[in-house]
């Protein structure tokens, strides 16, 4: 009996093995646990990169597999960060307030503690009351639930509205971008209850772990991110390797045909869109405690476009491609923009990479789109001498105008 679906067992196994080795090596070299060759801040950078790889996987699921170019997945990532940030900031501030009030002659009432916490958190935006959306901020469990629910529900509502009116292709991309813009503009407002453009800060201080040095906390988060990436990768492999994945790729290649097979295409898109939004939220919840601060600029539309850039450069339609793209581009970017890259003196002008990196990135992105649509992942095909059929090679039909419409809905 043949296997029904060509699972990607080999690439999955290799990926997990590499991830395990990478985690082990970083752990052994870290300051917190190992010999200290890798600084704590770099451990954090690597941990954050793993989270970016996870959100890139979720982007690859919607775009690479189902053909929905979402320009909103980084917003879901940020929302996850905000949700966990609310608990971190509340709980941490409460600890500080309780400690400082312990010296008072009279023990504080619950109301006094809450008022003092609110004053600490919201003084910067000129109020001293907890907004309604902070109702569950005192409960880690509730906020962890919200990390998944808030992006999921937002994506669900948006997706339901968009998919049911058959908005697809570039229209959908633009609409998701508008959603992202609306969300970030909303978060920029000072009276929204999330501290406006100040964002949430001090997230690297984990409540209850004040005694633990950051060197150790960073390694723990690194492990957490690696575990989440492995789990997310396995989950995604499971989703795309079966019939569900087959239907998704069918939707990407010929949505109408899938519909005529009896599959409710809109429901599939919705499940995938909302599900990947949840995944993005989880990635964000792991990312921002390592970054230490989240503000609305993180959710700006440009961030979601960069996410698409990573996936495109890494190679969409294959999960490890997304991981490679996110890891490679974000690490290279931070190397160039961090000022570590040496300047290039041309005699009449010195190229400073801090200034020129984005120009190079933008142009190389154009080149990748034009000449290497499979991205870095395509190199692996060359290694395996696996040449896929050209999907676009079929005749274009009697009317080229019709084709344009059809392709637009891919």
């Amino acid at each position: 009996m043949q296997r029904a679906y060509q699972g990607r067992n080999r690439s999955t196994a290799i990926f997990l093995l590499l991830l395990a080795v990478f985690t082990l090596v970083v752990t052994l070299l870290s300051e917190g646990v190992g010999i200290g060759m890798v600084s704590t801040s770099f451990v954090k950078t690597l941990g954050k990169t793993l989270c970016l790889a996870l959100v890139a996987i979720s982007m690859d699921l919607v775009w690479g597999y189902a053909g929905i170019l979402s320009l909103g997945h980084f917003a879901f990532f940020g929302l996850g960060g905000y949700m966990i940030g609310m608990w971190l900031m509340y709980e941490r501030t409460r600890e500080i307030v309780v400690t400082s009030l312990a010296d008072a002659p009279i023990p504080p009432t619950a109301q006094e503690v809450s008022d003092a916490v609110a004053n600490q958190i919201f003084g910067v935006v000129g109020t001293a009351e907890f907004p309604l959306i902070w109702t569950f901020a005192d409960s880690l469990f509730a906020q962890l639930l919200l990390v998944v629910l808030v992006p999921g529900i937002l994506a669900g509502v948006f997706g339901w509205l968009a998919f049911r009116s058959r908005v697809a292709g570039v229209y959908l991309s633009i609409l998701t971008q508008a959603m992202t813009l609306a969300l970030s503009l909303y978060l920029f407002q000072n009276d929204n209850g999330l501290r406006g453009n100040n964002g949430l800060s001090g997230l690297q201080n984990i409540p209850g772990l004040t005694e633990v040095p950051q060197a150790l906390v960073s390694v723990w988060f690194f492990w957490g991110a690696a575990f989440a990436l492995a789990a997310g990768y396995l989950l995604s492999v499971w989703v795309v390797s079966g019939k569900f994945g087959s239907v998704l790729r069918g939707i990407r290649d010929d949505e109408a045909r899938v519909r005529f097979l009896g599959y409710p295409v809109e429901a599939y898109k919705l499940v995938l869109f909302a599900g990947t939004a949840c995944l993005a939220g989880i990635a964000g919840a792991l990312y921002y405690p390592q970054a230490g601060i989240i503000n609305p600029a993180e959710l700006a539309p440009i961030a979601s476009i960069y996410l698409a850039v990573w996936v495109a450069i890494g190679g969409r339609g294959r999960l490890y491609g997304a991981v490679i793209g996110a890891g490679f581009v974000s690490l290279v970017s931070s190397w160039f923009t961090g000022g570590q890259a040496p300047d290039v003196p041309l005699g009449f002008y010195t190229i400073k990479w801090v200034d020129w990196w984005l120009v190079v990135l933008g142009l190389s992105f154009v080149l990748v789109t034009l000449f290497a649509p499979k991205g870095i992942g395509g190199l692996f095909d060359l290694l395996e001498r696996r040449i896929a059929p050209d999907r676009h090679g079929a005749d274009l039909g009697p009317d080229q105008g019709a084709l344009r419409e059809k392709e637009a809905s891919e």
Partner: protein, 650 residues
């Protein structure tokens, strides 16, 4: 007694020394001398009135000297003079009646009259009468301005008196208006006031509202039992409903009718002060983290008399029930307040109508900005099906072109006239270049076009940052575009926005002309409808695509110059407009210029409309607008003006 004798003696002497006919002002001053020397705000009024009502031309001099502390009395003969310092402590003395110097004296032989500020203000009001009739129109105007700034009942008669004498029609109109306003506020006759109010109730001037509003100002009053009928009461306040319980009780406290509340903070501080051996009022300290237990402990302390007792809820309720809370108009007459609020209502209606008109103008100007920004996109996206994410950067390039031109050509008018075609040329070239290098390889792959042009957009934005820096560059409009066309106190529109409106209409016409009257337009429409058929008819697809893309990009460049005139030119200029531009095209309906216009109008008016509800928060307006658009797409997925049937595809 001795002083009185001396004063009587002085008056008697002055009568003998002076003849009233020869020195009328001095006579008046001597008559009022007691009041003048008394130097008290409460009693001095008759003296000022005597001078100012004397009808003498010298009166103004006297009052001015008096107000400026230049009025001196010679101790020897008790006569009043205007003193002017000569040198050291010697003063030249001018006689008011003759206006001539009558002598000099050291300050030790003189007594300076030093009116306090209250008196000086009274003198000032009396002086207004003279200033309002001053032969110099500038001084009349200055006096009128000061009347408008500090209106008071006292100046009203002077103002009315000056109306008859006024020769300058402009000043006369202003005076008449000021007279009406003062009548509304200060006339002794209620009917006069009410008549003035109904007369002015159609007026949009801010000054009318500023005069009417204080008439309706209220204070809060508390009475035991029902309030007296004599007061002009617009509203009775019910604790817990129209006034907060705490606020109501604090009003009672302020009126010294009840003992003060004790706040939670005061309770805590009082408890902290009275900790004795780990307990307060018999309660162990560690249990004080509960507000109820804190109150118990406090009550215990109050029983011991260590702290003032705190009224409990029942007492507060009882106190509130026993009193009535009302708002009272400061203006006692109900007829006047009714007329004032009626006049204000009428004005509010007129203002509302004008604000709506102003809002429409604002919306129109925003519409033309969005239309200008989106028209190029409508061509590339609508006609060619190409998503150009670098469109915003073309707008930015246009704006920077304008900036560079201004560095070379200093004359602003010339530089703008030069910048518009140059910006078109620059972005046209950039568009054609991009079409040749990138986009033509990606026709029929819209998502990849989107990504590739986004790459171009990142690169161009960073390039602009590297060349021009991150700080905003100014693009100054010519001086004839400064200022605004002011229609009335509510409606005004700046010339620059009118210019942008004209530019938008111009480009609409250009577009229509090109599409309907030129070979390029014909070919473009043919290519849009059926590319392979068009190609087989001998149309050069490459050329048409190149030209169309160039045209769309060129218009973006011109839009950039226009936008740069009122916004700051930065490398992010384009990205601020890109999402709105896409929204405009999508909402309007792809492939139709009227759709783009409708989309721009909808987004422009919507944004202004939402801003009107919450003017302080443009971010919220944009948020709501986008949410609205997402909802709108639900109902018309193909936009306002949609292509129907098979031609639209699926």
């Amino acid at each position: 007694m001795k002083n009185l004798l001396l004063a009587v003696l002085a008056v008697a002497m002055s009568c003998t020394l002076l003849h009233a006919q020869e020195a009328p002002m001095q006579t008046i001053l001597q008559e009022q001398s007691a009041l003048i020397l008394d130097n008290s705000r409460r009693t001095v009024a008759p003296a000022i009135a005597a001078v100012s009502d004397s009808g003498l031309p010298q009166a103004q001099d006297v009052l001015q000297a008096w107000q400026a502390k230049n009025l001196w009395q010679r101790s020897a003969d008790r006569l009043f003079f205007r003193g002017e310092k000569v040198e050291g402590k010697t003063y030249a003395l001018y006689d008011f009646d003759s206006g001539e110097v009558v002598g000099e004296a050291p300050s030790s032989e003189l007594k300076q009259i030093k009116p306090n500020s209250g008196i000086r203000a009274l003198i000032g009001s009396a002086l207004v009468r003279f200033q309002l009739q001053d032969p110099d129109p500038k001084r009349r105007l200055a006096a009128l301005t000061s009347v408008q700034r500090n209106p008071s009942a006292e100046v009203l008669p002077s103002l009315r008196e000056s109306l008859a004498e006024e020769s300058d029609p402009e000043i006369l109109a202003m005076k008449q208006r000021a007279e009406r306003l003062l009548t509304m506020a200060y006339d002794a006759d209620e009917d006069q006031r009410i008549a003035a109010m109904s007369e002015m109730s159609g007026d949009l001037g801010v000054d009318v509202r500023a005069t009417l509003n204080p008439m309706l100002s209220t204070r809060r009053a508390v009475f035991e039992g029902p309030p007296p009928d004599t007061l002009n009461i617009p509203e009775t306040l019910v604790p817990g409903e129209t006034i907060g319980v705490t606020e109501a009780y604090d009003t009672l406290v302020a009126a010294n009718l009840v003992p003060a509340r004790v706040t939670a903070d005061e309770v805590r501080n009082a408890l902290a002060e009275h900790i004795v051996g780990g307990t307060v009022g018999g309660v162990p300290v560690h249990r004080l983290d509960d507000p109820d237990i804190r109150l118990q402990a406090y009550a215990a302390l109050a029983q011991e008399g260590k702290v003032p007792p705190a009224p409990d809820t029942a007492q507060i309720a009882q106190a509130l029930a026993a009193h009535s809370f009302v708002k009272v108009y400061l203006e006692p007459s109900a007829r006047v307040t009714d007329a004032a609020s009626e006049a204000l209502d009428t004005i509010a209606l007129t203002v509302g109508a004008n604000q709506t008109f102003d809002l429409i103008l604002d919306g129109l100007s925003l519409t033309s900005i969005y239309f200008l920004a989106a028209i190029g996109l409508a061509i590339t996206f609508g006609v060619m099906g190409v998503i150009n994410m670098a469109h915003g950067e073309f707008i930015m390039m246009g704006a920077y072109t304008g900036y560079v031109v201004q560095q070379i050509v200093p004359n602003h008018t010339a530089s703008i006239l030069l910048a518009i075609p140059l910006a078109f040329a620059v972005t046209f070239a950039a568009g054609v270049l991009m079409e040749r290098l990138v986009i033509r390889w990606l026709y029929n792959r819209p998502l990849e076009t989107l990504l590739a042009t986004f790459g171009v957009s990142i690169a161009l934005q960073q390039l602009a940052k590297n060349i021009f820096g991150t700080q905003a560059r100014p693009l100054t409009s010519p001086s004839w575009l400064d200022g605004a066309w002011v229609i009335n106190d509510v409606v005004a529109i700046s010339y620059i926005r009118i210019a942008i409106f004209v530019l938008a209409v111009f480009f609409l016409c250009v577009y229509l002309f090109i599409m309907r009257r030129t070979r390029l337009g014909l070919e473009t429409r043919a290519v849009t409808q059926n590319p392979s058929m068009a190609a087989s008819m001998g149309i050069n697809l490459n050329k048409v695509n190149m030209m169309t893309f160039g045209l769309g990009s060129g218009i973006a460049g011109v839009a950039g110059v226009a936008i740069g005139l009122f916004a700051k030119v930065t490398s992010e200029l384009g990205s601020d407009y890109i999402v709105q531009s896409f929204m405009t095209v999508v909402v309007g309906g792809v492939g139709n210029i009227w759709g783009t216009l409708a989309g721009a109008a909808m987004i422009g008016f919507l944004q202004k409309g939402i801003e009107w509800f919450n003017p302080s928060n443009t971010l919220a307006a944009q948020t709501f607008m986008i949410v609205f658009i997402i909802m709108f797409i639900q109902f018309r997925p193909r936009g306002i003006i949609a292509l129907k049937g098979r031609a639209a595809g699926d």
